[in-house]
Symmetry: C2
């Protein structure tokens, strides 16, 4: 049977754009891992019900992004993206250091809420269980490719409204600065691994069985006061961590 949702016409979104987005998602999902290449243009054109030239426009856009590389006579190869390197140090920030590895980095806000700290959060943030904390859920992307999803907690009394500031600036570092915290330090990072759960599969465009790297990290201000605790889940095949001593 054909795919459940075909491309739509007359919506103001060009067909090549819709097709490019769906092919990229399929690649991230690992649908073509067995061959390492995208199906032939004629096949894709048939599947999507469009002209071959339209598929070529979509593939050209993906080639421009660096997602695929077309080779005449062979086919369109999926570029083995290098793993993004996350240096872990006292100056660890998400966007910093990634900027030169990817053309476009973005963090999208998934959820934002104020809640009471449970025992674990309280321990990391040096609060008492039940104290107000702000929870921020974000997804990190590099070149349209979902890389990580993070849940961060902040002391609500000190960083009231940090969610809204984050929404404006799109950066934790900038949000901190807006709220009067000019600098902070990565005090501790724990790294573990597990299998992807269903939330990972959807948010990170993974297949069942995929591996997730989990970091639990605490940031402090210059007086060693905790300002942020975050749990980040990375798609293991898209990242590596380096620790310099």
């Amino acid at each position: 049977m054909a795919g459940q949702k075909q491309v739509q016409r007359q919506t103001g979104v060009a067909l090549w754009r819709q097709i490019a987005d769906r092919i990229r998602a399929s690649i991230n999902h690992g649908d073509f891992d067995s061959t390492g290449m995208v199906p032939p243009e004629t096949v894709l054109a048939l599947q999507f019900g469009v002209n071959r030239h339209t598929v070529r426009s979509a593939l050209a856009a993906l080639a421009q992004e660096g997602v695929v590389r077309a080779v005449q006579g062979r086919g369109t190869l999926i570029e083995r993206k290098e793993r993004l390197n996350f240096p872990i140090s006292k100056r660890t920030r998400f966007s910093q250091g990634i900027g030169d590895q990817a053309r476009e980095t973005r963090a999208t806000l998934l959820d934002l809420a104020e809640e009471k700290a449970d025992a674990e959060i309280a321990r990391w943030l040096h609060l008492r269980p039940g104290d107000d904390v702000i929870r921020l859920e974000t997804r990190g992307e590099a070149d349209q490719r979902p890389v990580s999803r993070a849940t961060s907690w902040f002391p609500a009394d000190r960083f009231a409204g940090i969610g809204d500031v984050y929404r404006m600036t799109g950066s934790i570092t900038k949000a901190f600065r807006e709220l009067g915290l000019s600098d902070y330090i990565r005090a501790k990072t724990e790294i573990t691994a597990t299998h992807a759960d269903t939330g990972d599969l959807t948010d990170l465009e993974l297949s069942p069985g995929a591996i997730i790297l989990i970091t639990r990290a605490m940031n402090t201000d210059l007086d060693d006061k905790p300002v942020q605790y975050s749990i980040t889940r990375f798609a293991a095949d898209r990242v590596q961590f380096t620790i310099e001593n």
Copy 2:
């Protein structure tokens, strides 16, 4: 200052489509509530940096949706959408009964996870705390307008994989049927009200201070066994409930 993100060209998404989406979001956000009408076409054209005709295309699309109505000489009025009526009965389902009130209804999957039941979930689903449950978070939309966001829990042993089935069918009722439950009954509904939290503001496109109607509901199978417990948060100015006795 101008808006932080302007419309983008050459992306495969038509300018009129981007502009229409942003105007619709502004309307839902209540930005024009003081006047009850959209700014003049010439002003919008200047704001977005496009020709007036392009703005007109966007407004024509919104008029087609029924969001606005243009009146020559006066301006473009925002249609006071009737509140969606949710009849609450033993046969309460989201999509049913709404279909004839809105042109297009949709439920988008926000999150999906398997977790352990806490005390409250366990009580509603007649389980023991710690039992496995599947949590499903969705947003309900009618005519592109976000109406509600719901969190539902299902007993994991009985409805394993209901999340994936839901993703395919886009309907709880159909997902139940796929998993062998042909019919179910709304056993209990509790209704409360509160102010919107930050999550509501983003997901439902509301302004601070907006009112949220909350339903806590339990569905059972024909043997009175609980099959679903859900907490749904409605934008209060977009819905009404009716209970027939």
